[in-house]
């Protein structure tokens, strides 16, 4: 059971990274469906860099940069040329899948030393909860910190307020003199960097190796997670843990004696998302869903 819970926390980490980035992009009003592609780009770049330089930190940086590069393509096409956001995002996912496979073809089968884990202090070593929560690598703590920082930034800072305003009504934001396209571009780039970090975590820590299409749909789960969290950062924790539990339950079916078909467990995150959507619609109060989500913005001149 302890192993399962540790595995859940590890599995939740890439979800947290990717979903936090996408949440920021969506709160600014941009729907970027390219998360899966950006994660793959991040994963391959991180793995290749870490392997050649021998530095995990360089790998992490490369992963974020690669994800951001993917997002940059999206910014140019979907925001600069106001192409359809959904189509651009899908294209980015397909592009990322192909490009990462091409870049990574020489790295398949090579192994990387996993990142060091935090050693639980002796005083707490007997405590199971401490072991579950603390025996992790730095990126797990980084993901947690990222979510909290984004939450605080969105709700308590002026730039966060501007981002929410742009996502709520880009026409009014423009009239008020907020740079709509600038805010959105930065938000999408941030989302790309986060997706890249999520990918880097997969190839540097989670496996740690590179295999083609290794994200295996985690980018899509991250997108669903944003909806599940109803665009609120702190709810990402709950969602990420639940989704990761579904994910890991497949691996621990025998040990934990779970009598549920693994196919059902694969489906479960999406089912949970659908239920979350229904709950959101039934709730009388408006959700935090950005009103301008996915809508093109062209300033009239």
């Amino acid at each position: 059971m302890e192993a399962f819970l540790i595995a859940v926390i590890v599995a939740a980490t890439p979800f947290l990274f990717a979903a936090t980035g996408e949440l920021v992009a969506e709160r600014s009003g941009v729907l970027n469906l390219g998360v899966e592609g950006m994660m793959l780009l991040g994963a391959v770049a991180a793995f290749a860099t870490a392997l050649t330089t021998g530095s995990s930190l360089m790998g992490i940086a490369a992963g974020a940069a690669a994800g951001m590069a993917g997002a940059f393509l999206f910014v140019i096409v979907a925001l600069g040329f106001t192409a359809n956001q959904a189509a651009t995002g899908l294209a980015l996912t397909i592009f990322g899948t192909g490009a990462s496979g091409l870049i990574g073809k020489d790295f398949v089968g090579q192994a990387l030393a996993p990142m060091p884990k935090f050693t639980v202090p002796e005083a707490l070593a007997d405590n199971a909860a401490a072991r579950i929560l603390l025996a992790h690598d730095g990126m797990v703590f980084g993901a947690v910190a990222l979510v909290i920082l984004v939450w605080a930034w969105l709700n308590f800072t002026r730039t966060g307020l501007r981002l929410r305003a742009v996502g709520d009504d880009h026409g009014s934001a423009q009239a008020l003199g907020l740079g709509v396209l600038k805010v959105r571009s930065l938000a999408v780039l941030f989302g790309g960097a986060c997706a890249g970090l999520g990918g880097a975590y997969l190839s540097l820590v989670y496996t740690p190796l590179w295999a083609e299409d290794m994200t295996a749909g985690r980018g899509w789960i991250a997108l669903a997670l944003v909806v599940f969290a109803s665009w609120r950062p702190l709810r990402l924790f709950i969602g990420a843990l639940i989704f990761a539990a579904f994910d890991q339950a497949r691996n621990y079916r025998e040990t934990l004696d779970i009598d549920i078909p693994s196919q059902f467990l694969s489906m479960a995150p999406y089912l949970a998302t659908i239920i979350a959507l229904v709950v959101i619609s039934l709730a009388s109060r408006r959700s935090d869903a950005p009103a301008c989500l996915g809508r093109d913005f062209r300033p009239d001149r």
Binding site: L161, R162, A165, D168, D169, L176, R286
Partner: protein, 590 residues
């Protein structure tokens, strides 16, 4: 109301020189020059489409002028974005809300301020509230506010930036008269502190109450600047509308039995103005105009007539005595009504569809085989002089005027018995406008009843036989066109009472109210019970009566002579044309 800028040196804060702006073929602003001094309250007047909103959007940096320049304190400035306008010290209160629904009131205010501190905003808002009585609840989300409160947020957001020039685009349309009075006091106080004001409104009495100067626009150009406190309102109205030269009005000799009857129709709409117990009828061979400034219920009325919003009572709309209120648009069309909505692209026509497919939009489900849509579309193009690309072009490629001609042609070609059209010549050049008007008149000669929902007084005087005025969702009684002057109709549209007009005789006049028809049981019911669901309390009848003279209860009218016989306002007697309800006892067959 004394304006405090009687001191001689008039220091001009902002000046516009020969500003011009076109959207495709439409010249929204041709040549606008004006200036406003510190502490001055300038009214910008003009009909719909005169170019007021386009002009102020350029001052605010939302749009860019094609020609001309702006001067700020005598120096040329390029206002390239709203941010630049803010920096200069230009504040704007928009006609349509530009608040953020998902954010709280406090957050909305914070966005307009350079530094963020909840306490500072709270303090500043409290200051404004104390000084001007604009109370706000900062922690509320804007979406939960009433329209009046949203307007207040918008005004406070503009004021909190302490602008040097404040532009207000029809700010009082959602305020109660009391709220409006309070706003005027605020604006007076701000102007006394040296702020310049550009105030846009249709409501002439408001302008008179508030402003020191008025610049009047017509068709994108300045026609006059005057002092609204001394210039008679009737004269201002005339300058806004222009001389109605040589009306090509017909005699009304074809008028027959009522075709389309609307009886006590109430429609509640979530957004916009709901209709409150309106009644009218449109008769064979006449053009009935529904006048009124924008947003007074025209959209709800059109939707109700077209069947897009079915009425609760089927009998509230009857076509040749057949109740149609519960029917959808297609069933109504089958019975011989045609509709042309105000919005050409997106409502009347689909931009990405070729013209032939757009023809199908109002033809599907009708009896009678259409041989070839393409041939028919070509025929309509020829008959209505629709200039467009060769073959079967997409609707979006047509210019506004040509698309409007096509839409008109599409409906008129069906030879409907009743034609309901909203803004038939809105944004259309003069040539196409007179063509469309002539076609509408020709329809009536063939026996059709035409209902024109229009804000264009010139048009109404050219083509209408009878007029009713829509104001805040209520319809006035129907007047024969001869009984009205442009000034008088303008005053009815602005919601001011007839008695406000200086030249009117002193006989007490009833307020414009839902017309009382013989079968009307509303005569005894106070109109306040109309449309129980109101999106905001501002539009209740109480606020209506607040602006009305105190003791003018509508006397119950004897039922049959329903076209009111009124004296012309100027003492020159015009011919009284009071057509009886059923002129032709025999109902014409189709």
């Amino acid at each position: 109301m004394t304006s405090g800028n009687a001191t001689p040196p008039r220091s001009v804060l902002f000046e516009a020189r020969s500003i011009a702006k076109s959207f495709g073929d439409v010249h929204a602003n041709r040549d606008i020059s004006l200036d406003v001094a510190m502490g001055e309250k300038l009214a910008l007047l003009g009909e719909n489409g005169a170019g007021k909103s386009t002009f102020v959007k350029m001052i605010d940096g939302v749009l860019r002028p094609d020609r001309g320049e702006f001067l700020w304190r005598g120096k040329p400035v390029s206002i390239s974005s709203p941010a630049v306008a803010r920096q200069l010290g230009i504040g704007m209160v928009f006609q349509h809300f530009s608040t953020f629904e998902a954010l709280t009131v406090g957050e909305n205010l914070a966005l307009a301020l350079p530094k963020l501190s909840k306490r500072a905003i709270g303090k500043k808002a409290a200051e404004l509230s104390d000084k001007y009585g604009l109370t706000l609840r900062l922690s509320r989300r804007v979406e939960a506010l009433s329209a009046g409160e949203k307007q207040r947020v918008e005004i406070v957001r503009a004021l909190i930036q302490t602008p040097k020039l404040l532009i207000l685009d029809e700010p009082t349309s959602v305020l109660t008269p009391q709220e409006a009075d309070r706003l005027f006091e605020t604006l007076d106080a701000l102007a006394a502190d040296g702020m310049a004001l550009i105030y846009i409104s249709h409501r002439l009495p408001e302008i008179r109450q508030l402003c020191d100067r008025a610049t009047i626009l017509r068709q994108g150009a300045v026609v006059a600047t005057c002092d609204p406190k001394t210039t008679p309102l009737s004269q201002i109205a005339e300058m806004m509308i222009g001389k109605t030269a040589d009306p090509i009005r017909r005699t009304g000799s074809y008028v027959g039995a009522a075709r389309l009857k609307v009886d006590n129709l109430s429609i509640s709409v979530p957004e916009g103005t709901s209709l409150k117990k309106i009644s009218f009828n449109a008769r064979r061979g006449e053009i009935l105009a529904i006048a009124g400034v924008a947003g007074e219920g025209q959209e709800a009325l059109f939707s109700a007539l077209s069947g897009e919003i079915p009425a609760r009572r089927a009998k509230s709309i009857t076509l040749s005595d057949k109740p149609i209120g519960a029917m959808g648009p297609t069933r109504r069309r089958r019975l011989g009504i045609a509709f042309a909505p105000e919005q050409r692209l997106g409502h009347a026509a689909v931009g990405d569809f070729p013209l032939s497919e757009n023809l199908r939009i109002t033809r599907h489900g009708l009896r009678g085989g259409e041989t070839s849509l393409k041939a028919r579309a070509a025929k309509i193009r020829e008959a209505f002089d629709v200039r467009a690309g060769a073959g079967d072009p997409k609707a979006a490629t047509l210019s506004g005027g040509n698309l409007q001609k096509f839409v008109m042609g599409r409906e008129i070609d069906r030879e409907p018995e009743v034609f309901v059209v909203a803004q038939p010549t809105w944004g259309v050049d003069a040539g196409a406008a007179s063509f469309i008007r002539n076609e509408l008149m020709r329809m009536t000669e063939k026996g059709a009843a035409v209902v024109v929902i229009s804000q264009d007084l010139e048009e109404i005087f050219q083509i209408a036989d009878r007029v009713a005025v829509l104001h805040r969702g209520e319809l006035s009684e129907t007047f024969a066109i001869d009984a009205l002057t442009p000034e008088r109709i303008g005053l009815l549209m602005s919601g001011s009472d007839i008695a406000d007009l200086e030249m009117v005789d002193n006989t007490p006049e009833p307020r414009p109210q839902p017309k009382l028809v013989a079968s009307n049981d509303a005569a005894s019911v106070p109109p306040a019970s109309a449309s129980a669901v109101l999106s905001e309390p501002v539009r209740t009848v109480e606020t209506e009566t607040a602006s009305a003279p105190p003791s003018t209860p509508a006397p119950p009218k004897p039922p049959p002579p329903q076209a009111p016989t009124r004296l012309s306002t100027r003492g020159t007697t015009s011919v009284q044309w009071t057509p009886p309800e059923s002129f032709h006892p025999v109902r014409p067959e189709q």
